[in-house]
Protein backbone atom coordinates (compact mmCIF):
# COMPACT_ATOMS: atom_id res chain seq x y z
CA UNK A 1 0.00 0.00 0.00
CA UNK A 2 2.88 2.34 0.91
CA UNK A 3 4.34 1.60 -2.49
CA UNK A 4 1.18 2.81 -4.22
CA UNK A 5 0.87 5.90 -2.03
CA UNK A 6 4.54 6.71 -2.67
CA UNK A 7 3.83 6.28 -6.38
CA UNK A 8 0.91 8.68 -6.25
CA UNK A 9 2.98 11.22 -4.28
CA UNK A 10 5.85 10.90 -6.77
CA UNK A 11 3.41 11.23 -9.69
CA UNK A 12 1.93 14.42 -8.29
CA UNK A 13 5.38 15.80 -7.58
CA UNK A 14 6.60 14.94 -11.12
CA UNK A 15 3.47 16.44 -12.69
CA UNK A 16 3.34 19.63 -10.66
CA UNK A 17 7.09 20.25 -10.81
CA UNK A 18 6.78 19.91 -14.61
CA UNK A 19 9.65 17.45 -14.66
CA UNK A 20 11.31 17.94 -18.06
CA UNK A 21 11.93 14.27 -18.72
CA UNK A 22 8.41 13.21 -17.77
CA UNK A 23 6.99 16.05 -19.83
CA UNK A 24 9.05 15.00 -22.87
CA UNK A 25 8.03 11.35 -22.50
CA UNK A 26 4.34 12.33 -22.15
CA UNK A 27 4.43 14.65 -25.14
CA UNK A 28 6.17 12.01 -27.27
CA UNK A 29 3.55 9.43 -26.23
CA UNK A 30 0.80 11.80 -27.29
CA UNK A 31 2.55 12.74 -30.53
CA UNK A 32 3.24 9.14 -31.56
CA UNK A 33 -0.19 7.76 -30.61
CA UNK A 34 -2.18 10.69 -32.02
CA UNK A 35 -0.26 10.50 -35.31
CA UNK A 36 -0.75 6.73 -35.51
CA UNK A 37 -4.48 7.09 -34.75
CA UNK A 38 -4.82 9.81 -37.38
CA UNK A 39 -3.03 7.64 -39.96
CA UNK A 40 -5.27 4.69 -39.07
CA UNK A 41 -8.36 6.88 -39.56
CA UNK A 42 -7.18 7.95 -43.02
CA UNK A 43 -6.71 4.31 -44.03
CA UNK A 44 -9.28 2.53 -41.86
CA UNK A 45 -12.39 4.64 -42.50
CA UNK A 46 -12.25 4.52 -46.34
CA UNK A 47 -11.32 0.82 -46.21
CA UNK A 48 -14.17 0.09 -43.80
CA UNK A 49 -16.69 2.03 -45.89
CA UNK A 50 -15.54 0.22 -49.03
CA UNK A 51 -15.84 -3.19 -47.37
CA UNK A 52 -19.24 -2.32 -45.89
CA UNK A 53 -20.75 -1.05 -49.13
CA UNK A 54 -19.15 -3.14 -51.84
CA UNK A 55 -19.76 -6.69 -52.94
CA UNK A 56 -16.95 -8.75 -54.42
CA UNK A 57 -15.78 -12.37 -54.27
CA UNK A 58 -13.77 -12.94 -51.09
CA UNK A 59 -15.30 -9.99 -49.24
CA UNK A 60 -16.21 -12.12 -46.21
CA UNK A 61 -12.68 -13.48 -46.10
CA UNK A 62 -11.22 -9.95 -46.14
CA UNK A 63 -13.63 -8.86 -43.37
CA UNK A 64 -12.58 -11.92 -41.33
CA UNK A 65 -8.94 -10.87 -41.78
CA UNK A 66 -9.81 -7.35 -40.59
CA UNK A 67 -11.65 -8.73 -37.56
CA UNK A 68 -8.69 -10.96 -36.76
CA UNK A 69 -6.43 -7.91 -37.13
CA UNK A 70 -8.43 -6.14 -34.42
CA UNK A 71 -6.69 -8.41 -31.95
CA UNK A 72 -3.19 -8.28 -33.47
CA UNK A 73 -0.59 -8.85 -30.73
CA UNK A 74 1.65 -5.74 -30.61
CA UNK A 75 4.80 -7.85 -30.29
CA UNK A 76 3.97 -9.60 -33.56
CA UNK A 77 3.46 -6.21 -35.23
CA UNK A 78 6.72 -5.02 -33.64
CA UNK A 79 8.57 -8.05 -34.96
CA UNK A 80 7.36 -7.66 -38.55
CA UNK A 81 7.76 -3.88 -38.65
CA UNK A 82 11.32 -4.35 -37.32
CA UNK A 83 12.05 -6.91 -40.05
CA UNK A 84 10.62 -4.59 -42.72
CA UNK A 85 12.60 -1.61 -41.44
CA UNK A 86 15.83 -3.55 -40.76
CA UNK A 87 18.80 -2.35 -42.78
CA UNK A 88 18.39 -5.22 -45.26
CA UNK A 89 14.58 -5.27 -45.07
CA UNK A 90 12.17 -4.16 -47.82
CA UNK A 91 11.77 -0.72 -46.19
CA UNK A 92 15.30 -0.51 -44.82
CA UNK A 93 16.12 2.35 -47.20
CA UNK A 94 13.83 4.59 -45.12
CA UNK A 95 16.31 4.35 -42.21
CA UNK A 96 13.66 5.05 -39.61
CA UNK A 97 14.14 2.09 -37.26
CA UNK A 98 14.51 3.27 -33.64
CA UNK A 99 12.87 6.59 -34.41
CA UNK A 100 9.41 7.94 -33.52
CA UNK A 101 8.45 7.45 -37.20
CA UNK A 102 8.91 3.69 -36.83
CA UNK A 103 6.77 3.75 -33.68
CA UNK A 104 4.03 5.66 -35.52
CA UNK A 105 4.17 3.09 -38.32
CA UNK A 106 3.91 0.14 -35.93
CA UNK A 107 1.09 1.72 -33.93
CA UNK A 108 -0.78 2.60 -37.14
CA UNK A 109 -0.56 -1.08 -38.15
CA UNK A 110 -2.13 -1.98 -34.79
CA UNK A 111 -4.87 0.68 -34.94
CA UNK A 112 -5.90 0.37 -38.59
CA UNK A 113 -7.75 -2.98 -38.34
CA UNK A 114 -9.53 -1.70 -35.20
CA UNK A 115 -10.73 1.43 -37.01
CA UNK A 116 -11.60 -0.56 -40.16
CA UNK A 117 -13.57 -3.20 -38.23
CA UNK A 118 -15.59 -0.66 -36.26
CA UNK A 119 -16.23 1.37 -39.44
CA UNK A 120 -17.61 -1.73 -41.20
CA UNK A 121 -19.95 -2.41 -38.26
CA UNK A 122 -21.01 1.25 -38.04
CA UNK A 123 -21.90 1.54 -41.72
CA UNK A 124 -23.66 -1.82 -41.76
CA UNK A 125 -25.73 -0.81 -38.74
CA UNK A 126 -27.31 2.09 -40.61
CA UNK A 127 -30.91 1.45 -41.78
CA UNK A 128 -30.88 -0.96 -44.72
CA UNK A 129 -32.62 1.43 -47.12
CA UNK A 130 -30.66 4.55 -46.14
CA UNK A 131 -28.11 4.05 -48.90
CA UNK A 132 -30.92 3.69 -51.43
CA UNK A 133 -32.61 6.82 -50.06
CA UNK A 134 -29.38 8.82 -50.43
CA UNK A 135 -28.90 7.62 -54.00
CA UNK A 136 -32.58 8.29 -54.74
CA UNK A 137 -31.94 11.89 -53.69
CA UNK A 138 -29.55 12.09 -56.63
CA UNK A 139 -26.26 11.65 -54.77
CA UNK A 140 -23.15 10.59 -56.65
CA UNK A 141 -21.12 7.68 -55.25
CA UNK A 142 -18.81 10.06 -53.41
CA UNK A 143 -21.71 12.08 -51.99
CA UNK A 144 -23.36 8.82 -50.89
CA UNK A 145 -20.23 7.71 -49.03
CA UNK A 146 -19.86 11.14 -47.39
CA UNK A 147 -23.49 11.20 -46.20
CA UNK A 148 -23.32 7.63 -44.86
CA UNK A 149 -20.10 8.37 -42.96
CA UNK A 150 -21.73 11.50 -41.57
CA UNK A 151 -24.72 9.42 -40.44
CA UNK A 152 -22.39 6.93 -38.75
CA UNK A 153 -20.31 9.63 -37.04
CA UNK A 154 -21.22 8.65 -33.47
CA UNK A 155 -20.13 5.01 -33.71
CA UNK A 156 -17.12 6.19 -35.72
CA UNK A 157 -16.04 8.23 -32.70
CA UNK A 158 -15.95 4.90 -30.88
CA UNK A 159 -13.51 3.76 -33.58
CA UNK A 160 -11.27 6.74 -32.78
CA UNK A 161 -11.42 5.93 -29.06
CA UNK A 162 -10.71 2.24 -29.59
CA UNK A 163 -7.86 2.99 -32.01
CA UNK A 164 -6.25 5.53 -29.69
CA UNK A 165 -6.81 3.31 -26.65
CA UNK A 166 -5.19 0.40 -28.45
CA UNK A 167 -1.99 2.26 -29.31
CA UNK A 168 -1.42 4.57 -26.34
CA UNK A 169 -1.40 1.54 -24.06
CA UNK A 170 0.71 -0.86 -26.14
CA UNK A 171 4.32 -1.45 -25.25
CA UNK A 172 5.57 -4.45 -27.26
CA UNK A 173 5.74 -2.81 -30.67
CA UNK A 174 7.02 0.53 -29.36
CA UNK A 175 9.90 -1.04 -27.46
CA UNK A 176 10.85 -3.25 -30.42
CA UNK A 177 10.83 -0.62 -33.16
CA UNK A 178 11.65 2.38 -30.97
CA UNK A 179 14.22 0.89 -28.65
CA UNK A 180 13.21 3.05 -25.64
CA UNK A 181 16.05 5.52 -26.31
CA UNK A 182 16.15 8.29 -23.74
CA UNK A 183 15.16 11.64 -25.20
CA UNK A 184 14.34 10.08 -28.57
CA UNK A 185 11.91 7.17 -28.48
CA UNK A 186 11.03 6.77 -24.81
CA UNK A 187 7.28 6.90 -24.27
CA UNK A 188 5.16 6.39 -21.14
CA UNK A 189 4.65 2.65 -21.63
CA UNK A 190 8.27 1.82 -22.44
CA UNK A 191 9.50 4.04 -19.60
CA UNK A 192 7.12 2.25 -17.20
CA UNK A 193 8.51 -1.14 -18.25
CA UNK A 194 12.06 0.14 -17.77
CA UNK A 195 11.41 1.68 -14.34
CA UNK A 196 9.65 -1.51 -13.18
CA UNK A 197 12.64 -3.52 -14.37
CA UNK A 198 14.94 -1.28 -12.34
CA UNK A 199 12.73 -1.69 -9.27
CA UNK A 200 11.81 2.02 -9.22
CA UNK A 201 8.18 1.26 -8.55
CA UNK A 202 7.27 4.77 -7.41
CA UNK A 203 8.39 6.26 -10.72
CA UNK A 204 6.71 3.39 -12.62
CA UNK A 205 3.47 4.04 -10.76
CA UNK A 206 3.80 7.75 -11.43
CA UNK A 207 4.23 7.13 -15.16
CA UNK A 208 1.29 4.69 -15.16
CA UNK A 209 -0.94 7.24 -13.48
CA UNK A 210 0.04 9.87 -16.04
CA UNK A 211 -0.71 7.34 -18.80
CA UNK A 212 -4.10 6.57 -17.28
CA UNK A 213 -4.91 10.26 -16.88
CA UNK A 214 -3.90 10.92 -20.47
CA UNK A 215 -6.01 8.06 -21.82
CA UNK A 216 -8.94 9.13 -19.68
CA UNK A 217 -8.58 12.77 -20.78
CA UNK A 218 -8.62 11.96 -24.50
CA UNK A 219 -11.49 9.49 -24.15
CA UNK A 220 -13.46 11.90 -21.95
CA UNK A 221 -13.12 14.59 -24.62
CA UNK A 222 -14.29 12.21 -27.36
CA UNK A 223 -17.13 10.92 -25.15
CA UNK A 224 -18.34 14.48 -24.51
CA UNK A 225 -18.42 15.10 -28.27
CA UNK A 226 -20.17 11.77 -28.88
CA UNK A 227 -22.82 12.21 -26.21
CA UNK A 228 -23.50 15.84 -27.17
CA UNK A 229 -24.29 14.62 -30.69
CA UNK A 230 -26.41 11.69 -29.50
CA UNK A 231 -30.08 12.00 -30.55
CA UNK A 232 -32.32 12.29 -27.48
Amino acid sequence: MDLILDGIRTALSLIFSLDREVLAVTLLSLKVSCSATLASLFIGIPAGVLLALSDFPGRRFVISLVNTGMGLPPVVVGLFVTIFLWRNGPLGFLEILYTPAAMILAQAVIATPIVTGITIASIQNLPANLKLQVRALGATRLQTVWILVREARLPLLAAVMAGFGGVISEVGASIMVGGNIKGQTRVLTTATVMETGKGDFDVAIALSLILLALTFGVNYLLTVIQQRERPR
Partner: protein, 243 residues
Protein backbone atom coordinates in the same frame (compact mmCIF):
# COMPACT_ATOMS: atom_id res chain seq x y z
CA UNK B 1 -50.56 13.71 -72.43
CA UNK B 2 -47.11 12.60 -73.57
CA UNK B 3 -45.22 9.81 -71.87
CA UNK B 4 -42.86 10.95 -69.16
CA UNK B 5 -41.43 7.57 -68.26
CA UNK B 6 -41.36 4.40 -70.31
CA UNK B 7 -39.98 0.98 -69.44
CA UNK B 8 -39.71 -1.98 -71.77
CA UNK B 9 -38.95 -5.63 -71.04
CA UNK B 10 -38.12 -4.80 -67.46
CA UNK B 11 -36.98 -7.95 -65.72
CA UNK B 12 -35.50 -7.98 -62.24
CA UNK B 13 -34.09 -10.87 -60.20
CA UNK B 14 -33.45 -10.65 -56.48
CA UNK B 15 -31.71 -13.44 -54.59
CA UNK B 16 -31.79 -15.61 -57.71
CA UNK B 17 -35.59 -15.32 -58.05
CA UNK B 18 -37.33 -13.36 -60.78
CA UNK B 19 -39.43 -10.77 -58.97
CA UNK B 20 -40.55 -8.63 -61.87
CA UNK B 21 -41.37 -9.21 -65.52
CA UNK B 22 -42.91 -6.15 -67.10
CA UNK B 23 -43.06 -6.13 -70.93
CA UNK B 24 -44.18 -2.50 -71.12
CA UNK B 25 -44.96 0.24 -68.63
CA UNK B 26 -45.39 3.97 -68.99
CA UNK B 27 -46.44 7.01 -67.01
CA UNK B 28 -47.73 10.14 -68.70
CA UNK B 29 -46.86 13.67 -67.65
CA UNK B 30 -48.87 14.58 -64.53
CA UNK B 31 -50.40 11.09 -64.38
CA UNK B 32 -50.82 9.37 -61.01
CA UNK B 33 -50.56 5.58 -60.97
CA UNK B 34 -51.15 3.28 -58.03
CA UNK B 35 -49.43 -0.11 -57.98
CA UNK B 36 -51.25 -2.56 -55.75
CA UNK B 37 -50.65 -6.18 -54.96
CA UNK B 38 -50.02 -8.58 -52.08
CA UNK B 39 -46.71 -8.81 -50.23
CA UNK B 40 -43.99 -10.04 -52.55
CA UNK B 41 -45.93 -9.01 -55.67
CA UNK B 42 -42.97 -6.97 -56.94
CA UNK B 43 -44.21 -3.46 -56.11
CA UNK B 44 -41.01 -2.31 -54.38
CA UNK B 45 -38.87 -3.97 -57.04
CA UNK B 46 -40.79 -2.09 -59.72
CA UNK B 47 -40.19 1.28 -58.04
CA UNK B 48 -36.53 0.55 -57.29
CA UNK B 49 -36.07 -0.70 -60.84
CA UNK B 50 -37.69 2.42 -62.31
CA UNK B 51 -35.38 4.57 -60.14
CA UNK B 52 -32.39 2.56 -61.43
CA UNK B 53 -31.62 1.52 -57.86
CA UNK B 54 -31.80 -2.19 -58.61
CA UNK B 55 -29.78 -4.00 -61.22
CA UNK B 56 -31.98 -4.99 -64.15
CA UNK B 57 -31.65 -8.37 -65.78
CA UNK B 58 -33.05 -6.89 -68.96
CA UNK B 59 -34.96 -3.81 -69.98
CA UNK B 60 -34.67 -0.20 -70.92
CA UNK B 61 -35.98 2.90 -69.21
CA UNK B 62 -36.60 6.15 -71.05
CA UNK B 63 -37.35 9.49 -69.49
CA UNK B 64 -38.97 12.11 -71.72
CA UNK B 65 -38.10 9.95 -74.70
CA UNK B 66 -34.40 9.74 -73.81
CA UNK B 67 -33.03 6.32 -72.81
CA UNK B 68 -31.45 6.33 -69.35
CA UNK B 69 -27.92 5.00 -69.80
CA UNK B 70 -25.81 3.66 -66.92
CA UNK B 71 -23.65 6.77 -66.90
CA UNK B 72 -26.70 9.01 -66.83
CA UNK B 73 -28.48 7.33 -63.92
CA UNK B 74 -27.51 9.94 -61.32
CA UNK B 75 -28.62 12.77 -63.60
CA UNK B 76 -31.90 10.91 -64.19
CA UNK B 77 -32.45 10.41 -60.45
CA UNK B 78 -32.04 14.17 -59.99
CA UNK B 79 -35.20 14.66 -62.07
CA UNK B 80 -37.26 12.29 -59.96
CA UNK B 81 -37.72 11.61 -56.24
CA UNK B 82 -38.49 8.58 -54.13
CA UNK B 83 -40.21 8.15 -50.78
CA UNK B 84 -39.80 4.91 -48.88
CA UNK B 85 -42.00 3.15 -46.37
CA UNK B 86 -39.79 4.37 -43.50
CA UNK B 87 -39.07 8.12 -43.50
CA UNK B 88 -35.27 7.46 -43.49
CA UNK B 89 -34.47 10.92 -42.20
CA UNK B 90 -30.89 11.97 -41.55
CA UNK B 91 -29.51 12.62 -38.08
CA UNK B 92 -29.78 16.39 -38.33
CA UNK B 93 -32.45 19.06 -38.16
CA UNK B 94 -35.71 18.81 -40.06
CA UNK B 95 -34.72 21.82 -42.20
CA UNK B 96 -31.36 20.34 -43.21
CA UNK B 97 -33.03 17.02 -44.01
CA UNK B 98 -35.32 18.70 -46.49
CA UNK B 99 -32.48 20.79 -47.87
CA UNK B 100 -30.25 17.74 -48.43
CA UNK B 101 -31.48 16.88 -51.94
CA UNK B 102 -30.93 20.47 -53.00
CA UNK B 103 -27.44 20.57 -51.44
CA UNK B 104 -26.65 17.36 -53.36
CA UNK B 105 -27.67 19.22 -56.52
CA UNK B 106 -25.18 21.98 -55.72
CA UNK B 107 -27.49 24.63 -54.26
CA UNK B 108 -25.98 26.94 -51.64
CA UNK B 109 -26.91 26.37 -47.98
CA UNK B 110 -29.19 29.40 -47.60
CA UNK B 111 -30.95 28.97 -50.94
CA UNK B 112 -31.52 25.28 -50.17
CA UNK B 113 -32.89 26.14 -46.73
CA UNK B 114 -35.28 28.75 -48.17
CA UNK B 115 -36.70 26.21 -50.61
CA UNK B 116 -36.82 23.60 -47.84
CA UNK B 117 -38.87 25.96 -45.63
CA UNK B 118 -41.42 26.40 -48.44
CA UNK B 119 -41.66 22.65 -48.92
CA UNK B 120 -42.16 22.08 -45.18
CA UNK B 121 -44.94 24.70 -45.20
CA UNK B 122 -46.56 22.87 -48.10
CA UNK B 123 -46.80 19.75 -45.94
CA UNK B 124 -47.95 21.76 -42.90
CA UNK B 125 -44.82 21.08 -40.84
CA UNK B 126 -43.16 24.47 -41.16
CA UNK B 127 -43.06 24.78 -37.38
CA UNK B 128 -40.68 21.80 -37.11
CA UNK B 129 -37.69 23.31 -38.96
CA UNK B 130 -35.28 23.47 -36.00
CA UNK B 131 -36.27 20.12 -34.47
CA UNK B 132 -34.03 17.07 -34.56
CA UNK B 133 -35.42 14.73 -37.22
CA UNK B 134 -35.08 11.78 -34.86
CA UNK B 135 -37.49 13.33 -32.35
CA UNK B 136 -40.53 13.43 -34.65
CA UNK B 137 -43.67 11.34 -34.49
CA UNK B 138 -44.30 8.85 -37.31
CA UNK B 139 -46.74 11.17 -39.08
CA UNK B 140 -44.45 14.20 -38.76
CA UNK B 141 -41.45 12.21 -39.99
CA UNK B 142 -43.32 11.00 -43.07
CA UNK B 143 -44.49 14.56 -43.83
CA UNK B 144 -40.84 15.69 -43.61
CA UNK B 145 -39.83 12.82 -45.88
CA UNK B 146 -42.45 13.91 -48.43
CA UNK B 147 -41.34 17.55 -48.09
CA UNK B 148 -37.75 16.43 -48.80
CA UNK B 149 -38.89 14.63 -51.94
CA UNK B 150 -40.98 17.56 -53.19
CA UNK B 151 -38.31 20.16 -52.35
CA UNK B 152 -36.28 19.13 -55.40
CA UNK B 153 -39.30 19.80 -57.65
CA UNK B 154 -39.30 16.32 -59.20
CA UNK B 155 -41.09 15.66 -62.44
CA UNK B 156 -41.96 12.19 -61.18
CA UNK B 157 -42.22 10.92 -57.63
CA UNK B 158 -42.07 7.25 -56.69
CA UNK B 159 -43.64 6.30 -53.36
CA UNK B 160 -43.26 2.88 -51.79
CA UNK B 161 -46.14 2.38 -49.34
CA UNK B 162 -45.47 5.77 -47.77
CA UNK B 163 -48.24 5.57 -45.17
CA UNK B 164 -48.13 1.91 -44.20
CA UNK B 165 -46.48 2.53 -40.82
CA UNK B 166 -48.96 5.25 -39.80
CA UNK B 167 -52.19 4.97 -37.85
CA UNK B 168 -55.46 5.33 -39.79
CA UNK B 169 -56.41 8.91 -38.81
CA UNK B 170 -52.90 10.16 -39.67
CA UNK B 171 -53.01 8.20 -42.91
CA UNK B 172 -56.35 9.71 -43.96
CA UNK B 173 -55.22 13.30 -43.40
CA UNK B 174 -51.82 12.76 -45.02
CA UNK B 175 -53.32 10.98 -48.05
CA UNK B 176 -55.69 13.92 -48.57
CA UNK B 177 -52.86 16.45 -48.31
CA UNK B 178 -50.66 14.42 -50.66
CA UNK B 179 -53.47 14.10 -53.21
CA UNK B 180 -54.02 17.86 -53.15
CA UNK B 181 -50.31 18.67 -53.48
CA UNK B 182 -49.82 16.17 -56.31
CA UNK B 183 -52.71 17.68 -58.28
CA UNK B 184 -51.72 21.28 -57.59
CA UNK B 185 -48.08 20.71 -58.50
CA UNK B 186 -48.86 18.57 -61.55
CA UNK B 187 -46.20 16.07 -60.45
CA UNK B 188 -46.50 12.62 -61.98
CA UNK B 189 -46.50 9.86 -59.36
CA UNK B 190 -46.31 6.12 -58.93
CA UNK B 191 -47.53 4.91 -55.54
CA UNK B 192 -47.09 1.35 -54.39
CA UNK B 193 -49.71 0.55 -51.78
CA UNK B 194 -51.71 -2.09 -49.98
CA UNK B 195 -54.28 0.47 -49.14
CA UNK B 196 -57.35 1.42 -51.10
CA UNK B 197 -57.39 4.72 -49.24
CA UNK B 198 -54.07 5.89 -50.69
CA UNK B 199 -54.89 4.51 -54.09
CA UNK B 200 -58.30 6.11 -54.48
CA UNK B 201 -57.42 9.51 -53.15
CA UNK B 202 -54.81 10.35 -55.68
CA UNK B 203 -54.66 8.14 -58.73
CA UNK B 204 -55.80 8.09 -62.35
CA UNK B 205 -54.78 4.49 -63.02
CA UNK B 206 -54.47 1.30 -61.03
CA UNK B 207 -51.95 -1.42 -61.81
CA UNK B 208 -52.35 -4.76 -60.06
CA UNK B 209 -49.18 -6.80 -59.69
CA UNK B 210 -48.99 -10.40 -58.54
CA UNK B 211 -45.97 -12.65 -58.73
CA UNK B 212 -44.03 -9.94 -60.53
CA UNK B 213 -46.45 -9.62 -63.45
CA UNK B 214 -49.32 -7.25 -64.19
CA UNK B 215 -52.60 -9.06 -63.70
CA UNK B 216 -54.92 -6.11 -64.20
CA UNK B 217 -54.68 -2.47 -65.22
CA UNK B 218 -57.14 0.36 -65.74
CA UNK B 219 -59.00 3.20 -64.12
CA UNK B 220 -59.68 2.45 -60.44
CA UNK B 221 -63.44 2.20 -60.96
CA UNK B 222 -62.98 -0.22 -63.88
CA UNK B 223 -60.60 -2.46 -61.96
CA UNK B 224 -62.84 -2.49 -58.91
CA UNK B 225 -65.89 -3.32 -61.03
CA UNK B 226 -64.27 -6.39 -62.55
CA UNK B 227 -61.58 -7.76 -60.23
CA UNK B 228 -59.22 -10.10 -62.05
CA UNK B 229 -58.20 -12.14 -59.03
CA UNK B 230 -58.89 -12.77 -55.37
CA UNK B 231 -56.49 -10.06 -54.22
CA UNK B 232 -58.29 -7.36 -56.22
CA UNK B 233 -61.64 -8.64 -54.96
CA UNK B 234 -60.37 -8.46 -51.37
CA UNK B 235 -58.87 -5.03 -52.08
CA UNK B 236 -62.32 -3.88 -53.25
CA UNK B 237 -63.80 -4.90 -49.92
CA UNK B 238 -61.27 -2.88 -47.92
CA UNK B 239 -63.10 -1.14 -45.11
CA UNK B 240 -62.11 2.36 -46.14
CA UNK B 241 -64.62 2.35 -49.01
CA UNK B 242 -66.64 5.23 -47.60
CA UNK B 243 -63.70 7.62 -47.74
Amino acid sequence: MSNLLEAENLRIRRGGVQVLDLPRFSVATEEKVAVVGPNGAGKSSLLLGLACLLRRETGTISFKGEPVMERGETAYRRKIAMVFQEPLLFDTTVLDNVAEGLRIRGKGREEARDIARDSLELFKVGQLTGRSAHKLSGGEAQRVSLARAFAVKPELILMDEPFSSLDLPTRIVLAEDLGRILHESGTAAIIATHDRLEAFHVVDRLLVLDGGIVVQEGRPSEVMAQPANAFVAAFRRTSYSGL
